[in-house]
């Protein structure tokens, strides 16, 4: 079996999430762990690693930001179109090990996508976890992802949505204006029996981790999802290496003590 060979799948649906992000549903059957990713190909354009933002064996959902050539090409895919994928790859969040814990999910921008996979997993296994808190930060109301799901999440979990600025005063899902870190600071977070999952831009992750540490969280209670340039996703091309760890096979989810401060460089 050629591990570089992508398989052909079909797009089941396209949803526009924000001006520059969208979600594709694909008929790929797999058993992904929350936090895992796939390599999506557009022949002639290239491949891009995309995290899975669903928890299902019958299909996968991919939330994608139009930022490079591959993702721009993917934004033109619609129901019925072919899609080339290999994977899933990497280590996701260790959901099994963390049963019985309080989970704090902190996401920024399109970093919310892998956490959506975690949330879906929790929905399917709600009794295994205790309190669930979500902190989701976006730059503006337009950029808020998973707007439909947010309403459900608000009913079930302690949810804080922040937006850096709200210029046109749009209705924005009870989001507060400010950085997500301000919401974390104010929240009464008890490090006992709790773990935090983070995914987002490097600056936001670093600031959030500093805050968690101030609140008494140890590095072993913090899990981060890293983003790196990847070609092979097999642990050989080396582009995604963080101090000797391959983001593609040892990650993309790392316990913070495994990569520590290097997560940001």
């Amino acid at each position: 079996m050629n591990p570089y060979l992508p398989q052909r799948y079909q797009v089941l649906g396209f949803t526009r999430e924000s001006p520059d992000t969208f979600t594709l549903t694909v008929n790929m059957r797999s058993k992904p762990a929350p936090g895992q990713f796939v390599q999506v190909s557009v022949p002639g354009v290239g491949e891009a690693p995309i995290s899975i933002c669903s928890d299902s064996r019958s299909h996968i959902k991919l939330n994608i930001r139009e930022i490079g050539n591959v993702t721009k090409a993917l934004s033109k895919k619609r129901k019925g179109d072919a899609l080339w994928i290999r994977g899933p790859y990497g280590k996701g969040y260790p959901m099994k090990e963390l049963e019985g814990k309080n989970l704090i999910l902190i996401g920024g921008g399109c970093g919310v996508a892998p956490l959506k996979g975690v949330i879906d997993f929790i929905e399917h296994h709600r009794s295994r976890y205790r309190d669930i808190r979500l902190f989701l930060g976006y730059r503006s109301p337009d950029e808020i992802l998973f707007k439909k799901e947010l309403k459900e999440w608000r009913k079930k979990y302690q949810l804080e949505v922040t937006i850096d600025q709200n210029q046109h005063g749009a209705f924005c899902y009870d989001a507060k204006v400010g950085f997500v870190t301000e919401a974390i600071k104010k929240a009464p977070l008890d490090p006992h029996a709790s773990v935090a999952f983070l995914c987002g831009p490097p600056v936001m992750m670093k600031a959030s981790i500093d805050l968690l540490k101030q609140k008494g969280f140890g590095e072993r209670q913090i899990f981060v999802s890293a983003e790196r340039l990847m070609y092979c996703a097999l642990g050989v091309c080396c582009h995604c290496m963080i101090r000797g760890k391959f983001t593609c096979v040892d990650g993309p989810v790392f316990r913070y003590d495994e990569i520590g401060a290097y997560a940001h460089d």
Binding site: L5, P43, G44, R228, L229, G235, V236, C238, G244
Partner: protein, 320 residues
């Protein structure tokens, strides 16, 4: 393991026999010494090691992985003919071993195909062939089919695998079993590196001395026999824009683009971080995963560096 003897006057005959049913690739003296397919046994040059490593024969600079036509991807796994690599020094043999590990772990069929049906015949350095050598400071791992020891009038040949034994049997006329003990495998003058564990040195101020001399030109990684990083790109056919090929080419961690993600964020932007990344991958990170350093001490990255950054001296100085 067995020992045989080959008289030097029969050396050309032996190489000639190998050439009958295989392509023989050996060090040849051109503008610099290079591993090249030879046309005559006399071309084999054993005084100096090849300036460029052997890796392009297993991991080419550019390699097509797939052709695609809009409907499917068709793998382009190569099928090289039988190849004999002669005159490969211990450092380069160990380098092949390490690339075997790296590509093997990923189950890379392209590398595997290129490595298949290749016979590795080593040449033991009587002394360090270059002032930059430091293989003696790193673990020496026996990884060959045959190993040639130069004994002035003759070669002593050690077999290192079943394939090697078979090669000796096939050419039994030129070999005589040798009753001597196995020669010393130490290479004089090749133990320059005096630091075993570089992990505590990451924040040492002396790294700057090396970084200031770095052009980030990527010569070190291109000439390294172990560096195996690559990138993958697609190319479109002009006649049919839904068709084309996907290929991989060598990459270098010394370049800013190596860690650039969509949106233009570069993770290892600073020259210093890129510079240290190579040394740490070579001496530390690979060891954490596979128990041995990736670096084999051939010294090519120093010899080929336009400013001769000698990271061995640099590290030795940090320890002192």
């Amino acid at each position: 393991m067995r020992l045989y003897r080959l008289e030097k006057k029969r050396f050309a005959e032996f190489i000639g026999r190998l050439m009958l049913d295989a392509e023989v690739i050996a060090p040849v003296k051109k503008d610099v010494v290079r591993f090249l397919p030879i046309a005559h046994p006399e071309e084999v040059h054993l005084e100096k090691n090849a300036f460029f490593p052997l890796k392009e024969y297993f991991f080419p600079q550019n390699q097509t992985l797939f052709q695609f036509d809009g409907k499917s991807f068709m793998a382009q796994v190569p099928k090289p003919k039988k190849r004999v690599f002669f005159g490969v020094r211990r450092c380069d043999l160990t380098a092949i071993r390490h690339q075997d590990i790296a590509f093997g772990e990923a189950g890379d069929p392209y590398y595997e195909a290129m490595r298949k049906s290749s016979l590795l015949i080593g040449y033991h350095c009587p002394k360090a062939p270059s002032p930059y050598c430091f293989c003696g400071s790193l673990p020496q791992i026996e990884y060959f089919d045959l190993m040639f020891f130069d004994q002035q009038t003759h070669f002593l040949i050690e077999t290192g695998s079943g394939e090697g034994e078979k090669a000796v049997e096939e050419h039994a006329e030129v070999f005589v079993p040798a009753e001597t003990p196995k020669p010393d495998t130490k290479i004089p003058g090749a133990d320059r590196l005096h630091v075993g564990n570089i992990a505590p040195l990451y924040d040492h101020p002396d790294w700057k001395k090396g970084v200031d001399l770095c052009l980030s030109c990527g010569a070190c990684t291109a000439l390294c026999p172990t560096c195996y990083c690559f990138e993958i790109h697609d190319e479109l056919s002009t006649a049919d824009l839904s068709a084309g090929k996907r290929s991989r080419s060598w990459s270098s961690c010394q370049l800013p683009g190596f860690t650039r993600v969509a949106g233009d964020h570069v993770f290892r932007k600073e020259r210093e971080h890129r510079f240290k990344h190579r040394i740490y991958h070579q001496l530390e990170y690979f060891k954490e995963k596979h128990g041995v350093p990736l670096c084999v001490g051939c010294g090519r990255c120093i010899e080929a560096c336009p400013t001769r950054i000698d990271f061995v001296k640099l590290l030795n100085g940090m320890k002192a």
